[in-house]
């Protein structure tokens, strides 16, 4: 029989206002096994915890029930309290009488009655609690960063600077990501490449960083501290160790039909190419779908012209198997497909461009060498309309737009407008906006500068229709402030398209068993208090993969994720969650059903000699690896004999709670 102490917290008036805490403490006294029961203003305070510690010692308590706020809030606190008084932390149970009682009920009698029932359930459960000892597992001191954009690069640099090895897996032939495609950055208007490329070089030269470009994660097994990743290094048909990045092959290549992804398809490139001048690794890659050699077996001009002998047409995909202690997801974003919005005529006219395309047009290394011209005829535009919130804040259709605010569009549109006006004062610029959202350091000042200094025409309202007319685009929109409908004949229309997670994220989320929201952004372990961790232990989040954010925020989060990774990799071993499944040998039939539902592959089988009243001899039984098991309990229900049970949430504990609640 346990000796149970019950501690009822007032939480100031948060609980005490709708729950008669004295009555709860009094009722608990009459429950079997309860030898001590009391109440206090703030149990989580130092005085409250001292009271618990003293009671544990004085009354030789074997179990503790705290009636307080949600266990999600203070379970860890009270477990530590118990440990400091010499009690096993898993002998503590919380009755949630705040979030799930006092805060939702108004009537004192009702609240008190329910609190007593919840306390009883916790007492009934603690009767069946057993001290649990957490096992440990070693930590592989290497991190994997998935995605080589600014988020991934910054995370990798920070981790590597702390002395741990980092692999960056990047699906494109070069690292750099979206930031490499940007022309200038807001609100300082400094050149994106100028601040990014030194970071790329730092990463490439860092002795602890290993960049695995043109590669993707194939599969992942294991658990925090002990992941095993299979990385598919796609064949680039170039020997990376030999290629000097001289670029001769890219010039000689006769096939010029490939759309240049880096320039958002605004111009073309050869079948063998280096994405951009500062690419890292500065190594060419052959697009085998486009390459004449791969299609016809002929050509081979690149091979003939490569003095380093780096062309390898017979190169195959390679699978690298690597072990990691932590994984950082930095998969970034892509703009949504603007062609879903017929009204903006994106598919109808090349002069309707997305902001990222516009970014390339404005960029000196872009398809127009930085000269602002209309894509259709190369003529100088005189009037440009920017439309914001294209697909953002759109709840109309999930396949079309996104319900969230993409966060960066207001600022980059202001940037674009300003840059156009700065370079080409003759160009009229209109911006249709719903709300101009500029919270951020120097952000509003930046936006106001566009309006006041650069005379950008900000129109509160939306465009209802863009129609292609002979040599211009007819833009029809509303000006809500002047209460009129506006008609503009523009030369170009720039759509501030919403951003969405990279399409590879969903599959990756499944592979990592990391949860995602309905928009495919990775979910953080806690929206406020653990914003850079995934709920899956050992998986961390960096950059837009977690939610829309601008560059400084991304870099900040990247650093934070790195700090978390460093914190993990510093440890020599990890304490496992002791609330894991275990199989009762005497009851196990070895039927393998549990194995099939285990998402972690934590269950294996072995033939073992068993002696029980029902069976003597050697039989096949399930064995749970406590370091791999995460304690979901899927196996426990699939087990017909009840051999599989979950520590901390055992069948008998849950039934005891049911009984107590239904009493």
């Amino acid at each position: 029989m346990q000796r149970i102490g019950v501690f009822v917290c007032w939480c100031g008036s948060n609980i005490a206002a709708t729950v008669d805490v004295k009555a709860v403490a009094e009722a608990a006294k009459h429950e079997p096994g309860v030898v001590f029961s009391t109440d206090y203003q703030y149990m989580c305070s130092e005085n409250g915890q001292a009271m618990i510690r003293e009671a544990i010692k004085e009354h030789r308590l074997t179990g503790v029930v705290i009636c307080s706020c949600s266990p999600r809030m203070h379970e860890a606190t009270f477990r530590k309290t118990a440990v400091s008084a010499g009690l096993n932390p898993y002998m503590v149970e919380i009755a949630n009488i705040r979030e799930q009682c006092s805060w939702i009920h108004k009537d004192m009698a009702e609240g008190t009655e329910k609190a007593i029932i919840l306390a009883r359930a916790a007492i009934a459960k603690v009767h069946l609690n057993a001290p649990l000892v957490a096992g440990t597992s070693p930590v592989t001191k290497r991190a994997l960063v998935i995605g080589g954009g600014i988020a991934g690069i910054q995370t990798a640099l920070d981790i590597a600077d702390a002395g741990f090895e980092v692999d960056i897996v990047e699906k494109a032939p070069t690292i750099g990501g979206r930031m490499a495609q940007l022309d200038k950055t807001f609100p300082t208007l400094d050149c994106s490449a100028c601040i990014l490329t030194p970071k790329m070089v730092d990463a490439a030269q860092h002795e602890k960083i290993n960049i695995i470009s043109y590669a993707e994660l194939d599969s992942l097994s294991g658990f925090v501290g002990n992941f095993t990743a299979k990385i598919r290094k796609k064949a680039r048909f170039i020997d990376e160790t030999k290629c000097t990045g001289c670029g001769i092959c890219t010039e000689k290549c006769p096939s010029r039909k490939g759309l240049n992804d880096f320039n958002m398809g605004l111009n073309t490139r050869g079948a063998v190419y280096i994405p951009f001048a500062q690419a890292i690794p500065n190594v060419a890659v052959i697009d085998s779908a486009q390459c004449i050699h791969f299609r016809t077996g002929k050509c081979g001009l690149c091979e003939k012209n490569c003095s380093a002998g780096a062309i390898k047409f017979d190169q195959k995909d390679e699978i690298l198997e690597r072990e990691y202690g932590a994984i950082v997801v930095a998969t970034g974003f892509k703009p949504i497909d603007a062609s879903a919005f017929n009204e903006y005529a994106y598919s109808d006219s090349p002069d309707v461009v997305t902001s990222l395309e516009f970014e390339r047009i404005m960029n000196a290394a872009g398809p127009t060498k930085g000269k602002l011209v209309r894509p259709s005829d190369g003529k100088h535009p005189h009037e440009i309309v920017f439309i914001q919130c294209v697909g953002s804040r759109c709840t109309e259709d999930a396949t079309k737009g996104k319900p969230y605010c993409s966060k960066i569009c207001c600022m980059y549109t202001a940037k674009h407008a300003m840059l156009v006006r700065e370079k080409y004062p003759d160009v009229k610029v209109h911006v249709f906006y719903i709300d101009a959202r500029t919270p951020g350091k120097n952000f509003d000042e930046f936006y106001r500068r566009a309006v006041e200094q650069y005379d950008v025409d900000y129109i509160k309202g939306m465009v209802g229709k863009v129609s292609v007319e002979q040599d211009h685009l007819h833009v029809q929109g509303s000006d809500l402030i002047n209460n009129e409908q506006i008609h503009i004949n523009a030369d170009m229309v720039v759509l501030a398209t919403a951003i969405e997670p990279d399409p590879t994220a969903r599959a990756l989320g499944t592979m990592l068993t990391a949860s995602m929201d309905t928009n495919d952004f990775f979910t953080e372990a806690h929206p406020k208090l653990r914003p850079v961790e995934s709920p899956t232990a050992g998986v961390f989040l960096s950059g837009v993969a977690q939610g829309p954010k601008d560059i400084p925020e991304t870099v900040a989060q990247a650093g934070a994720a790195a700090a978390k990774v460093i914190g993990l990799l510093c440890k020599n071993e990890l304490t496992c969650n002791p609330c894991v499944a275990h199989a009762n040998e005497a009851l196990c039939n070895g039927c393998s059903q549990c194995e099939r539902v285990c998402p972690y592959g934590a269950i294996t089988y072995e033939d073992k000699e068993v002696r029980s009243p029902e069976f003597r001899g050697i039989k096949r039984i399930a064995v749970v690896n406590g370091a791999i098991c995460q304690g979901c309990g899927a196996c426990t229900v699939t087990c017909p004999s009840g051999a599989m049970d979950l520590k901390g949430f055992s069948n008998s504990q849950i039934m005891a709670e049911v009984d107590a609640i239904c009493r």
Binding site: H30, P32, P613, E614, R616, D659, C662
Partner: protein, 336 residues
Amino acid sequence: MKKLSLNALNRFFGEIAEKQTLIAPIERAGQVDFGVWSESETVRLDVLKTVKSAKGAFFPQVEDMVRFHMQGKNIEINPSEVMNEDFVIFGVRACDARSFDLLDRVFLSDPVDPFYAARRAHGTVVTLACNEPEETCFCSNFGIDAAEPAGDVSAWIVGEELYLRANTEKGETLIKDLEDAAEDAAEETKKAIRAVTEQLPFASLNLEGFDGEHLMEKFNDPAWAELSRACLGCGTCTFVCPTCQCYDVRDFDSGNGIQRYRCWDSCMFSDFTLMAHGTNRPTQVERFRQRFMHKLVYFPSNNDGLYSCVGCGRCLSKCPQGLNIVKVIKALGGDK
């Protein structure tokens, strides 16, 4: 001897049921078992064997014994009341009627079982002769005459008439208002029954050696292993058996108190008499042996040679795998 037209049977039942509970073989969901009679029930006197025997009338499958209730840290104890109302059980066959004698030896010997004793005292047994014995019947081996069933009242169906004869005062009271009939009215029927009984395949089994003298010999017989091999360890034979009387006492924690009750148990179950250290009959061989040793050796040894089998044949027709006491008698008895 009294008589009653079968057409008037329901009226007779109604008269009985006005004063006391009447239990009779009634059909429910396609099966015939003893159950409480009411006008809406279908009585099936043509069915020879109810699935369960009649023993449930005196020794029900589940019976509450005592209830404990926690009040704070005190325990309140409320024993269940014993049967205190009269009842009649109608249509008991000769074999089942004999089983009551056997159960009496268990439950009415010291210490007397108050629940059973009360039911026996309040119950009136009306038996019915077996007009059409079946191939599974072998009651004659145990000195039971299917044509002359015991009980407080014995009854015979002759054509469209039911003839009843009181054997005890209780029986006398029950049928006193019925029409008188000649004492020998059922003699022809009895003869016919006996003629069939003699022809039955197991009319004369050789029970030689089933006694205390040969206990160890029977116990150690190697045949048990093979005999029991197909046994599933279900409780069908014990639960349909009129003489099996083992029960388990269990507690049910209702959340508001403990209900202690007893329920039939089966020596065929792997957890029969399971103790903290395990069980002393670890395999089905021992469990199977126990059941038949008890019926054919232990019980007679302690009860003047009376076998704890009445030859009703229910186990012969109900065992899922064709195991039964006849097979055991043949394998281990005098004909071995």
